[in-house]
């Protein structure tokens, strides 16, 4: 019997393989409580995917929350050691409001965090592990990467600031170039700069082909060192399969108050939203009075159930119908023999409702016959 195919869902398989993958690279599991003081989230609302949090007052009168996020708790509880590197992974449930549903949902999140001295090797390893995490889910995957620090400097460089910068970031995230170009013209930016800026943003593809082009186009707008560093990091990825799914795209954006460098999002064909999201969040570390740098990502495991949806599944292989008064020992032996052939068998006197079976059999007078 193939236990793996019959009983283990994609969710369970992926969860095991991710934890196995991260521990092989020396990441240790971080366990945490389901609850956290609400104050932590109130101070960092913009970092959360949704600002709605389940709160309650604990027995000492403190306002507590069911964790809506893992990273904030890890940062809060970690020791700040900027000269070393802590490598942690987690598999935890978080509680978030679902968009449009007006309800909270329990979501399993698996991910990793590196905190401390984040160097190019560390970025390369995290990017590789993120790509391998996606490949553990499916073969049809894409990981879009971008550099938020460079993008931010680029926007400053062409003269967009304040509220307009927030709008510009939003338009870039939507690939909304008609409104982005409108905004640039509204701000009376030089036409040559607008043309270069828009060209940089529409240039997407494999990082190794696209990054040199971007570097060239942006050279007279801003410092291109971050792009060159990112290219160096990508070139260091040894795994050809992992490297092959990377795609540079500036539309991967996140909150500039928290993220500062490399940012990425992973997509699986057949799933409507990104299943993996991550990046460098040194700015969050500074907000939380940490001197360390940090990078990490999370895989949203709840989305995996969508991948199982199309699978033809049966609750059991055989429903074995027997008549009242059948000899128990002989019936048991018949059931055992069907199980030994690799079947999941349900013995019943009547055909059960709402059970999907592959075969319907009948046991009578010591004989088994196939009904359908």
């Amino acid at each position: 019997m193939n236990l793996q195919n019959l009983l283990i869902s994609t969710y369970e398989k992926v969860s095991f393989s991710l934890r196995d993958l991260y521990s092989h690279y020396g990441y240790t599991q971080y366990k945490m409580s389901k609850f956290e003081e609400y104050d932590l989230y109130a101070r960092n609302k913009d970092f959360l995917i949704s600002d709605k949090v389940i709160t309650f007052t604990d027995l000492s009168g403190k306002l507590m929350a069911l964790k809506p996020d893992v990273t904030l708790s890890i940062v809060k509880n970690s020791i700040d050691e900027p000269d070393t590197l802590q490598k942690l992974y987690y598999a935890e449930n978080v509680y978030r409001a679902t968009k449009g549903a007006h309800a909270y949902k329990e979501i399993m999140q698996v991910g990793l965090e590196c905190m401390g001295k984040v160097d190019d090797y560390c970025l390369c390893e995290v990017l590789t592990l993120a790509a391998k995490s996606l490949l553990a889910i499916s073969d049809n995957v894409v990981m879009n990467i971008s550099h938020l620090g460079f993008l931010s400097d680029l926007i400053d460089g062409i003269g967009i600031s304040g509220q307009d910068k927030t709008r510009a970031i939003q338009f870039i995230g939507q690939k909304n170039y008609h409104e982005l170009s409108g905004l640039c013209r509204e701000l009376l930016i030089d036409e040559d700069k607008i043309s270069k800026f828009l060209q940089i943003l529409t240039t997407t593809g494999s990082p190794e082909t696209v990054l040199p082009v971007i570097s060239c186009l942006a050279a007279d707008i801003t410092d291109v060192a971050p792009v060159e560093r990112l290219l160096h990091v990508v070139q260091a990825i040894g795994d050809a399969e992992a490297k092959g799914i990377l795609h540079f795209d500036f539309s991967v954006v996140d909150d500039l108050h928290y993220y500062n460098g490399l940012v990425f999002k992973g997509f699986v064909q057949g799933l409507p939203q990104s299943i993996l999201s991550g990046g460098q969040y040194d700015k969050l570390m500074r907000k939380m009075n940490r001197r360390s740098c940090a990078v990490g990502f999370a895989v949203y495991m709840d989305m995996l159930e969508r991948l199982d949806a199309d699978k033809e599944t049966f609750d059991v292989d055989v429903v074995l119908i027997y008549e009242d008064g059948a000899e128990p020992a002989a019936l048991r032996s018949c059931v055992d023999s069907l199980i030994a052939q690799g079947n999941r068998v349900m013995a019943q006197q009547k055909i059960p409702q709402n059970i999907r079976y592959r075969q319907l059999m009948k046991y009578a007078c010591g004989e088994v016959s196939i009904l359908e």
Partner: protein, 212 residues
């Protein structure tokens, strides 16, 4: 692997105009022009599947991945803020989101402004930006009668020609934002169908340029 391009079209005249643009862009599906009650139409040759949905639902179909691309009004995108790519302003279905009130209405900043609207999010953001204290009255239709019956001071709604407003003795007081139809795409689907979607964008852009 299913490589059909799924397109959510808004039911009605706007959807028919949009289909004509898609057809010209290389994604024809003649069965859609047959007079039938069917809602889904497929062309295996060009690998495209169209479906008619309520205009306000297009963004949901696209965000949730049931459609790879679709066409939705900017009003819907601003109101529901779906996490989708907004690839092109199609320059059709043009109108504006506006604040309207009885023709003789004078705003008193000392009082909370009562705003009747279908677009609560747009209205809330607009007045938040102005620092104006408001009371939103969410209605699902016939917004124009709210100020007439004293239910609200103003309304926030879509204005095309302004005829309905005029007939009800209402007038536009402020324009919030111009509205037009936008081509949107699911962020995940885009990654796996970018050749087709980029081609669609290029072709439609060329059509729009040619008709200028």
């Amino acid at each position: 692997m299913n490589n059909m391009l799924n397109v959510a079209l808004p039911k009605g005249r706007l959807g028919e105009k949009v289909y004509a643009m898609f057809e010209k862009a290389g994604f024809p599906c003649p069965s859609i022009l047959e007079n039938s009650r069917k809602l889904i139409f497929e062309n295996q040759e060009t690998c495209v599947r169209y479906f008619w949905v309520k205009p306000s639902d297009v963004a949901i179909y696209v965000e949730r991945g049931a459609a790879d691309v679709g066409v939705a009004g900017k009003d819907i995108l601003l109101e529901y803020e779906p996490d989708v790519y907004e690839l092109l302003d199609l320059d059709i279905g043009k109108c504006r989101m506006a604040v309207a009130a009885m023709a003789n209405f004078r705003d008193d900043p000392q009082r909370t402004l009562r705003v009747a609207t279908k677009f609560s999010n747009i209205a809330a953001k607009y007045y938040l930006g102005k620092g104006r204290d408001i009371d939103i009255i969410h209605l699902n239709g016939s917004i124009e009668i709210a100020p007439i019956l004293g239910l609200s001071d103003v309304i926030v709604d879509i204005v095309e020609t302004g005829t309905t407003l005029k007939e009800n003795n209402l007038a536009v007081k402020e324009t919030i934002v111009p509205i037009s139809a936008r081509l949107i795409a699911n962020k995940s689907s885009y990654n796996f169908n970018s050749d087709k979607i980029d081609m669609l964008v290029r072709e439609i852009t060329a059509q729009m340029e040619a008709s200028k």
